[in-house]
């Protein structure tokens, strides 16, 4: 009895990600929906896209995305529609605007800077430190050459 209850309890619980009944009949539209979903964060989850998430709000958002697509929105319009309602928090890839530009530029800038330093270093290494021999070393060298 308790077991049956437990089984029912859990069956009523979370299901896995995209459900069969959500899928659009138009494969092109469905593929677009999947692409958009992969870039939208499930608002109540930890770092999961709505495409991967089992939460019910993720399902609502997936349905919303498909609804907007069927209404003829472009991909960008669908994203904007969701962002307007849930904030930029839902974008898993923050757009390179304003301060977020720093995030996107950090890698390339550091690469350039690092490449610059590396180039300087390599140029220095081409000659290397060539200190003249001390008198003691010269004497030793003579000794070796003669010996």
């Amino acid at each position: 009895m308790i077991r049956a209850l437990l089984v029912m309890l859990v069956l009523a619980g979370p299901a896995f990600a995209v459900q069969p009944d959500e899928i659009l009949s138009d494969p092109v539209l469905e593929a677009r929906a999947r692409d958009i979903s992969a870039g939208l964060r499930c608002p109540v989850c930890r770092n999961e896209s709505i495409d991967d998430s089992n939460a019910s709000i993720a399902r609502d958002l997936r349905l919303l995305v498909r609804e907007r697509l069927q209404a003829g929105d472009t991909d960008a319009e669908v994203s904007d529609f969701v962002v307007d309602r849930y904030g930029e928090y839902v974008l898993l890839s923050p757009p390179a605007r304003g301060t977020t530009l720093l995030l996107w530029a950090a890698g390339p800038l550091l690469l350039l800077g690092g490449a610059g330093i590396a180039a300087l270093y390599l140029r220095r290494r081409r000659t290397g430190p060539t200190e003249p021999l001390s008198d003691k070393e010269k004497a030793r060298l003579d000794q070796i050459l003669k010996g």
């Binding site: 299901a15 459900q19 069969p20 081409r126």
Partner: protein
Amino acid sequence: MLTELGHFTLVLALFVAALQSVIPLVGAHKSWSGWMAMAGPAAKIQLLLIGFSFAALTHAFVTSDFSLKLVVENSHTLKPLIYKISGVWGNHEGSLLLWTLILALYGALVAWFGGNLPDRLRARVLAVQAMIAVAFILFMLLTSNPFLRLAVPPFNGQDLNPLLQDPGLAFHPPFLYLGYVGMSMPFSFAVAALLEGRVDAAWGRWVRPWTLAAWMFLSVGIALGSWWAYYELGWGGFWFWDPVENASFMPWLIGSALLHSAIVVEKRESLKAWTILLAILAFGFSLIGTFIVRSGVITSVHAFASDPDRGMFILVILGIFMGGALTLFTARAGTMEAKGVFSTVSRESGLVLNNLLLTVSCFVVFIGTIWPLIAEIVWNRTLSVGAPFFNAAFTPFMIGIALALPIGGLIPWKRAELGRALRTLRGALVLAVALGALVWAMQSGRSALGPIGVGLATWVGAGVLIDLWQRTGRGALGDRFRRLRRLPRADWGKAVAHFGFAVSIFGISAILAWQVEDIRVLREGESYDLGPYTITLQDVREGEGSNYFTTIAEMRVERGGATVTVLHPEKRIYPVAGMPTTEAGIDHGLLRDIYLVIGDAQDGGGYAVRGYIKPFANWIWGGAFLMALGGIISLTDRRYRVAAGAARRAPVVVGAE
């Protein structure tokens, strides 16, 4: 009683570590050999004490001692024995104890096998190791004591998170910690060298095996975690760019850079200051990883003991060790004059490029991971940085590394000609372009990922083979094969590891480019086509395991009328933890995995069913294990087995002690 003894030995270990972190250091400074010699026995005693402590905790888990708070929260009498044992480190407190145990193990290994190290260096290395031990044992005793008792023990425990009750995950943390904590070895060597004010080829030779070992364990740990995610989470994802994954990935990237730059120190006595810096940073990123996982400041799917106090403590540890080491570095880095002279096109430059790409890629992962935190603190904006960002920002660096690898690995030290290297690699280049183009022509209208991945993997893989072959020199085929067998182990290690990199590149791009997915409702007895296969849902039953209930499906996979396999995907419920898990039915293969998942019963009858064909999935982890194998082969190279200080005394085979 045993538990109290374990608690007691942990406190004792703290005192031993405290002594070990001071006395040898003073001895090294004053040249008092007796004081320096204290480090070795202390390190061994430390291992013994913490080992006993760990054994006591394991005993409590195995015997289900529910008077211990930790056991109540993470165990259950019905749990299979292996998960009772893995439950010891499947939680914050216990995993910290494992952390310190491994730290002590590394220290004791230096004491055992460090006979060829100069006394002063060994004393300093062990002292720095002991400082880390002091910090972490204190952390454990003050904020996360695994030995706390309950006044009123309950009848049974709350069970371990069911997702963790899995063979893959039972061994994922120990490997990961062997890697994480192993990065403390190059750190200790770096700090000891800075104290000494001397970095030479011998230092490079001493530090490289430890780095190699740590890196190898980290590779295996990361691969195990990724593989576990693949088969356990129910849709076959293998990497999510989750903060905690990034936490293990960053030390791996820096460790990879360190491995390569240590070669330059060893062979050419250049890049010394840089190598020291990398050694410090590698451990720094290990600590940052520990901070990310245990503080909860960055939300992650690995919800693991989030506690601001603990976060603060780790931040202090991080500050002290990084601050101290970096200060020492700025004070002493100037004294490390490079010796080697080399031209702009040379193996040295190739390794500099490797280091540049690896470190910057690590930095990209780092800034992406902490960006939400920065944005919230500085601009009060809550935003997310997830997989799409990392895929776009990180991948170009890996492409760069793959492009440069065959050339950099082939050209000689000191001075090289690019034209000559390219001529040698002509075959690889032609093959790579041809295969890439072939794939491009064969797949219609899909991503460029497939052709690029195939091209790069071929370029690297064929480049490795050409490099290996041309190292055998000229002459008759038989001679060359004989010479191939006699190549130094280090060469073989390099070849195997780089080939593994190629295999992983191929696996990752193949699965991303050519995966087939199907989601539908299926009734019992119905079938459908998935790629070339016909899948039939034959039967769905209810069942029961030792500590879970299950809904188990029987699904027949046929191809051209012949049965390929029968898979049994499950949906489990762990009643004590109140959590469902999916157990996918997977037919593993060299060329493809068939991956089936059974979902909920639908209102109108039938079950939700997910089916995937994952092309070349196993190549991803196969490549990672090849990389680790390359590390092992390299580790057995003659020059590490023979004492590095051979000039000073007769060669000693370390393993014979």
